[in-house]
Each structure stands twice: as structure tokens, then as C-alpha cells.
């Protein structure tokens, strides 16, 4: 009897810990392909993602970025080399950013509106394609000690994946099941440029970019503000662990 209750306690604790662990999932690390640049059109407060056109890398002609690896350290072979155009219209229509808000520490942020109907599209290399809608975002630059850090955060919803069969991509399936994700692109200029610099004057500024696409179930490293649903799920799971341990302890005392 005692053995059975101990097993129950272990099972309950294990299930609760699994629930906490299951909140972490897929992270895809990205890098712009050779010839693809993020281009800021000064004066109009717009930017665009030019497609790859490098004569040295014809294999990436027409693409914008590739999946370098998964960020969790357990990259599977079928992910590497996945690539695709980020959006069908993004390279011809500028993404608009709004009024710049200035904060302490040299932080500048602005809301971003993507071109209407913009979609993210990633090929899995096996005739399968992951797609999702890009709705809104935020762009920011900040004066760090090493350089001006610049990033663009995008929200992806309505994820679909057409892959099937034994060669389908398990990470893409996870993303499809969660239906939403977030994408952070980082870029830098040398010498550094603030958002104000990038939106004033004339001409264009171009640079490479890298980033990550993160499953909606992975808590973002920053800012460390968990969503309400995550907090409740985590709280329930931790409560279960506490309950199981308390039950064990009480039994031992008796």
C-alpha cells in the first residue's frame, strides 16, 4: 500500500515536472543568405528585406534567410538548410515603422506594420512548406557598451505546414500545432546607427541580419514577463509537485 502511494506521488511529481518542461519547445536559428540585406530607406521610416542576388551564391537567389540550426543544441539534420522567401511582397513593399519612442539608456522603439498579407514561408527541403501570417512587430535600437544593438520582433500567427510522410520536419509540426510563434531579427551597423539615424536624411542603409524563430510555448528570455496562461499552467504544475511532496511528508510523519 505504502509502495503504491509512493509510486502515485512520484508519478504526480513527474507529470507536473513534465508539464513545466513541455512549455519549452522549438527554437530555429536564422541567418540572412548571402546577398539578402535588410535595407532602411531613410526619410520614409520604412525598411525592406532584399532577396539574395549574390553571383557567388546562386543557390540562394531569390531567398532571404536560412535556418542555421535549432537553438536548443539538439539540431536534427532535416532542419539544416531549410530556407525560403520570408514573404512574397516584403522585398518590394517597405515595412513601415511609426513614431519613435525614446527611453533612458539610449533605447529607441517604434511599432512596425508589415505589408498587407505578408507571410513567412520556410521550405523544409522535402517539398514541405511552413507558412504563417506576420501581423505586427516592434523595432528597437539601444546603445549598449559594445555597440548599438538593434532588433525587430515579429508576431507569427496561423501557422500551417504541408509536410508529410517519413521526411516531414518534427519541429515544423510542433510549430503548426502551436499555430503561433515569435521571430526576433537582430542587425547591426558599424559604426552603429540608432532608429532616429535610420529614419532621417536621404539614401539607404543596408546590413545583414540574423535571428531566431521561437515556438509560442518557449518563454522569451527577455523581457521576463510570462503570459497569464503560462503563469497559471506553471503554477498548477508546481502546486501539484508541492501537493505530492506534502502528502509524502505527512505520511512519513504519521
Amino acid at each position: 500500500m505504502k509502495m503504491k502511494k509512493q509510486m502515485w506521488a512520484v508519478f504526480a511529481g513527474g507529470a507536473a515536472l513534465w508539464a513545466v518542461a513541455a512549455q519549452g519547445s522549438v527554437v530555429l536559428n536564422l541567418a540572412s543568405v548571402p546577398g539578402s540585406e535588410m535595407q532602411f530607406n531613410a526619410g520614409s521610416s520604412t525598411f525592406q528585406f532584399n532577396v539574395g542576388n549574390s553571383p557567388f551564391f546562386p543557390q540562394y537567389s531569390g531567398d532571404q534567410w536560412k535556418v542555421v540550426s535549432e537553438g536548443t543544441g539538439n539540431a536534427s539534420v532535416d532542419d539544416i538548410g531549410a530556407f525560403g522567401p520570408m514573404a512574397t511582397t516584403a522585398h518590394t513593399i517597405g515595412w513601415q515603422f511609426g513614431a519613435i519612442s525614446l527611453f533612458g539608456g539610449g533605447l529607441e522603439t517604434a511599432p512596425v506594420t508589415s505589408p498587407s498579407g505578408t507571410q513567412i514561408s520556410i521550405s523544409d527541403g522535402n517539398n514541405g512548406t511552413l507558412q504563417g501570417a506576420l501581423n505586427w512587430g516592434t523595432i528597437q535600437t539601444v546603445q549598449g557598451n559594445g555597440a548599438i544593438n538593434a532588433s525587430l520582433v515579429l508576431n507569427i500567427t496561423g501557422i500551417t505546414y504541408t509536410g508529410s510522410g517519413p521526411l516531414n520536419n518534427s519541429d515544423f509540426i510542433t510549430l503548426k500545432n502551436d499555430t503561433q510563434a515569435s521571430m526576433v531579427l537582430s542587425f547591426s551597423f558599424a559604426p552603429g546607427k540608432s532608429l532616429t539615424d535610420l529614419s532621417t536624411g536621404t539614401g539607404t542603409y543596408t546590413t545583414s541580419y540574423s535571428g531566431s524563430l521561437t515556438d509560442a510555448n518557449v518563454p522569451p528570455p527577455h523581457p521576463p514577463v510570462p503570459e497569464a496562461g503560462t503563469t497559471i499552467a506553471g503554477g498548477v504544475a508546481l502546486g501539484l509537485v508541492a501537493l505530492a511532496l506534502g502528502f509524502q511528508r505527512r505520511k512519513a510523519l504519521l
Partner: protein, 232 residues
């Protein structure tokens, strides 16, 4: 014939002097991940991995014209960092990179005929981070100094970099909100992008540029005079 040859050489050297005034600014993306491995208490090691497209190089410039790699002279081939301290003004953290290394940049523009490689020493410098726990947000940034090095090609920007040196900043993706202690203790594998720059001091550039232009104009005028004299 000899005079014409000397003239061509002179014009060539003036033109290359003009080109060398340009400085260089390259933005690049990693072809594979950068890996941070724990290296003892409060210390870590940064490795830039080679990837599928540009091996044995590690990154490519945004236009695809340059390929680069950064390797350390340390025992494991990585850049060691330690001595993590609060950054001045409470603006994140800073760690010292204690190993020097080498940077190689392949200029692909004359390939497949010939590829010229710039080679230079990377001096130890600093790793900035810890953003997100302070007033500042942003990714951890590796900062490395490029010393003057060697280059025998024709690219004016690389010629300038080899002559004057410069610096590199590399942003480590997804590190905002992580302290440098966490990075050192837990390690991380992530994508990266960065920029390499060899800035031109504005005053000296203008003066040198004007001087070189003046010399070129003088040579053209003299050459025209000489030609018209020969015709007469």
C-alpha cells in the same frame, strides 16, 4: 615606350592611393552557430563554427563577396572570457576576452581566377552583455580588435584594413535577458551576425584624398600638354 609605362604606373599608384582612402565596413552573417562553452567558474569559451556553405570559413558578408573566419590561438581554438564585472554606469556587464586569434578574409571578387586572403591578428578585447537585467536591453556583443595585417589583393577596402586595422562587433542572437554568468555557466549555441569596420579619420582622409586628386589632375594636365607639344 618607357615613359608611357612609367606614366601608367604613376597613374595606377595615384588611383590605388585614392582607393585606399575608402576604409571598409562589412556586415556579415554566420554560416553556422556560435557556441559558448563553460570554462570554469565565471569563465567561458566562444567558438565560431564552420557551416555548410562556406567551409573552412565561418561567415559571409551581406553581399556574398567576402568570406571570413575568426579562430583563437587558445588551447581549444575558442576565445576565452572571464573576469565578469558590472559595466561602468550599471549598463549591463563586461567580461575580458583573454585569448588573441587570427582573422582571415577571402576576397572572392576575382574567383575563380584567384582569391586573395587578408590575414591579421585579433587582439583580445571584451564581451558585453547582461542586458535585460539593467536599464539596457539587447544581445550580448563580442568586441574584437583587428590589428594591421597582410593582403596582396586589389580590393581597396581590404587594402585599407590591412594597413590600418579595425574592429569587429558580433551580436549573439537570443542572449538578451541572460547574464554573462549564465552564459558562462550554462553555455549556449545560437546564430550571430556582426560588422567589421576600419574607419577613416575624416580630416586626414579629406586632406589625403584632395592631395591624391590634385596629383592626378596635375598628371593629366601635364600629359595633355606633352601630347599637344608632340603633335605641333
Amino acid at each position: 615606350m618607357q615613359k608611357a609605362f612609367i606614366k601608367i604606373l604613376s597613374i595606377g599608384s595615384v588611383l590605388s592611393a585614392l582607393a585606399a582612402q575608402g576604409g571598409i565596413s562589412i556586415s556579415f552573417s554566420g554560416d553556422a552557430n556560435v557556441v559558448i562553452s563553460p570554462a570554469g567558474p565565471g569563465a567561458g569559451e566562444i567558438h565560431f563554427l564552420t557551416g555548410p556553405d562556406v567551409t573552412p570559413y565561418q561567415w559571409y558578408s551581406s553581399d556574398g563577396a567576402y568570406l571570413g573566419s575568426m579562430t583563437s590561438t587558445g588551447p581549444n581554438g575558442g576565445f576565452l572570457f572571464n573576469n565578469i564585472q558590472p559595466a561602468p554606469g550599471g549598463n549591463g556587464e563586461v567580461a575580458t576576452i583573454t585569448t588573441s586569434g587570427t582573422i582571415s578574409i577571402l576576397d572572392q571578387q576575382l574567383l575563380p581566377l584567384v582569391g586573395h586572403v587578408l590575414s591579421a591578428t585579433l587582439d583580445w578585447h571584451q564581451l558585453y552583455g547582461g542586458y535585460g537585467y539593467t536599464a539596457t536591453t539587447g544581445n550580448a556583443t563580442v568586441s574584437l580588435d583587428v590589428q594591421p595585417g597582410s593582403y596582396s589583393g586589389f580590393d581597396p577596402g581590404l587594402t585599407y584594413l590591412a594597413a590600418h586595422g579595425g574592429y569587429i562587433t558580433v551580436q549573439l542572437q537570443g542572449t538578451s535577458g541572460l547574464t554573462l554568468e549564465q552564459l558562462a555557466a550554462n553555455g549556449l549555441s545560437t546564430s550571430y551576425g556582426g560588422a567589421l569596420v576600419s574607419p577613416v579619420p575624416e580630416t586626414s582622409t579629406t586632406l589625403a584624398g584632395l592631395g591624391a586628386l590634385g596629383l592626378l589632375v596635375l598628371m593629366v594636365v601635364r600629359s595633355r600638354k606633352s601630347n599637344s607639344a608632340q603633335v605641333q
